[in-house]
């Protein structure tokens, strides 16, 4: 069994289809919806945690892609300019998911994209503007 987070993007014509039902029913994938923005007639974005066997995950993602739903690992959608980070800690103040934490020994910022729920609070909280989250576009 594997657990991984993905960002799904729906084209306008796919907004009315029950993709999550099929992921559960046809591919035996356990889904956890972390974030959803669906605009009928326009586009939609979903952040999902998918849990299943390697084969089922692979087939489930292939099914989504066949239906014009893009499905990319969450960590590819977030960028953090690590080289410029001063480890001030401001972003950790707002990160409830625990994705951004200070290393308790070195006091340097640690970012674990697997824990991110794309709440985007870190984006304005960073005084150096080092986070870019590509959730909608």
């Amino acid at each position: 069994m594997q657990k991984k987070r993905y960002v799904l993007k729906f084209p306008p014509q796919s907004g009315d289809q029950p993709f999550s039902y099929h992921l559960v029913k046809d591919f035996d994938i356990r889904i956890n919806i972390l974030r959803a923005e669906v605009w009928p007639g326009k586009t939609g974005s979903l952040v999902l945690e998918l849990e299943g066997t390697t084969t089922n995950l692979k087939n489930g993602i292939a099914y989504l892609q066949e239906n014009q739903v893009s499905c990319e690992p969450l960590n590819k959608k977030i960028t953090w300019d690590n080289a410029r980070c001063i480890s001030c800690g401001n972003c950790t103040a707002v990160c409830f998911a625990g994705a951004l934490q200070m290393d308790p020994e070195k006091w340097e910022l640690q970012f674990d994209p697997e824990k991110c729920i794309v709440c985007e609070l870190c984006v304005p909280a960073c005084p150096l503007n080092l986070f870019k989250i590509d959730f909608r576009e």
Binding site: S87, N90, A93, V94, M102, L121, P127, N129
Partner: protein, 387 residues
């Protein structure tokens, strides 16, 4: 006999490469097994440091005269307003200055761009005088073209600072970071046991003329900082439990590095400047040795509610608790986060330590000590002004 060293004796050891130098964190560990007398005997200098956003910062710049010359009476640097009331071609660019149309790029960014050697657009206007006939100039300056650029920060390195929480139901955007509603986070500044003025709470060695590490080069303490307050309540270890003393510091901006001088923008607050400061404390006697041995659990500060007018105090916590990731305030457990960089502060303390060990940085005896018994005035609103 009790140990008593002089500044000159310590400098003599620095020159000979024999001085024993520790960071404030190292000496705090040493103090777990050594008495102040033993520390005073073994250790010569202790390095302290901080790297936090310090809004009361800025730079003096002299542009040089153009031909024909202009008496600059309105000045913009990359669109950011700079002070126009300093002779013809001198200015002071404050870190928090900004053009309201472009609030995310301010004086601190201009200062960092100058340090980084980038070109800055200078535009200035004057009314035109007999000796300064020109009325307008638009050109490009950088660190090589200006005569002087001097960092002069009127209030830096606060001795302690409150912890910020927000009891309201709305998010509050402050210079202490984004404060979540219902006290769901608490933010703290200062580098605790590594912080300069917390290691010399009565300022027995830090005063006017103290040579320091400033923004990557050597600078000086030039005056007590503004809002210098020695009347705050102290805890049993002599530590003021809120923001108290401050430092005015100065140094050659041309020699500084953006590794230790970093512009910042706080959401719905504005621009500020992270400043790296390191201060060496000479261990002249056991009394000073005791002060530099202070540990995080002995340094307390006040938790203040930034959501409510007047930021009322809600309780008191220590830095060991703050760094554990959770504090308890009025029976409620609150997650903590720092807003100043301890990793950068440690780097500065280490650089300063290595420069002293290498004989490149000598300690200096203050030419004048700071005042005592100072307190703060608030701004009274007088009806009708001076009418």
């Amino acid at each position: 006999m009790a140990i008593q060293k002089t500044y000159e004796e310590i400098n003599e050891k620095i020159r000979r490469g024999e001085a024993v130098v520790l960071t404030a964190e190292e000496v705090s560990q040493m103090a777990l097994t050594c008495t102040p007398e033993e520390i005073a005997e073994k250790v010569d200098v202790v390095t302290t440091a901080t790297f936090g956003a310090m809004c009361s910062s800025g730079a003096i710049v002299n542009f040089g005269h153009a031909n024909p010359p202009i008496r600059m009476e309105k000045i913009r640097l990359n669109g950011v307003p700079a002070y126009e009331g300093l002779a013809a071609v001198d200015t002071y660019i404050g870190a928090t200055a900004c053009d309201p149309e472009n609030p995310k790029y301010g004086g601190a960014h201009v200062i960092q761009d100058l340090v980084d050697g980038k070109d800055i657009e200078l535009e200035a206007w004057g009314k035109g005088t007999d000796c300064y006939p020109r009325k307008h100039i638009k050109t490009v300056i950088n660190k090589e073209t200006v005569n002087e650029m001097i960092l002069f920060n009127p209030r830096n390195a606060y001795q302690n600072y409150p912890v910020a929480v927000n009891s309201t139901s709305q998010m509050k955007y402050t210079y202490m970071g984004s404060l979540l509603p219902n006290m769901r986070n608490a933010t703290y500044s200062t580098s605790g046991e590594l912080s300069p003025l917390l290691n010399d709470p009565e300022m027995k060695t830090i005063g006017i003329g103290t040579r320091i590490f400033l923004g990557g080069t050597q600078g000086f303490v030039v005056w007590p900082g503004t809002q210098f307050n020695t009347s705050k309540p102290k805890n049993e270890f002599g530590i003021p439990v809120g923001n108290s003393a401050t430092l005015a510091v100065m140094g050659n901006l041309k020699e500084m590095s953006s590794e230790f001088l970093q512009a910042a923008y706080y959401e719905k607050y504005g621009v500020s400047l992270f400043v790296g400061i390191g201060i060496p404390i000479p261990v002249l006697n056991a009394d000073i040795a005791k002060n530099v041995s202070i540990r995080n659990e002995q340094i307390e500060t006040t938790v203040c509610d930034y959501g409510v007018e007047g930021s009322p105090a809600l309780g008191r916590v220590n830095y060991a608790e703050l760094r554990s990731g959770e504090i308890e305030v009025q029976g409620k457990k609150i997650r903590t986060a720092p807003v100043s960089s301890l990793s950068k502060a440690r780097k500065i303390a280490e650089i300063l330590k290595q420069s002293i060990l290498a004989g490149e940085f000598e300690i200096s005896k203050p030419v004048q000590m700071f005042p005592t018994n100072t307190s703060l005035k608030s701004l009274k609103e007088v009806k009708g002004g001076t009418e």
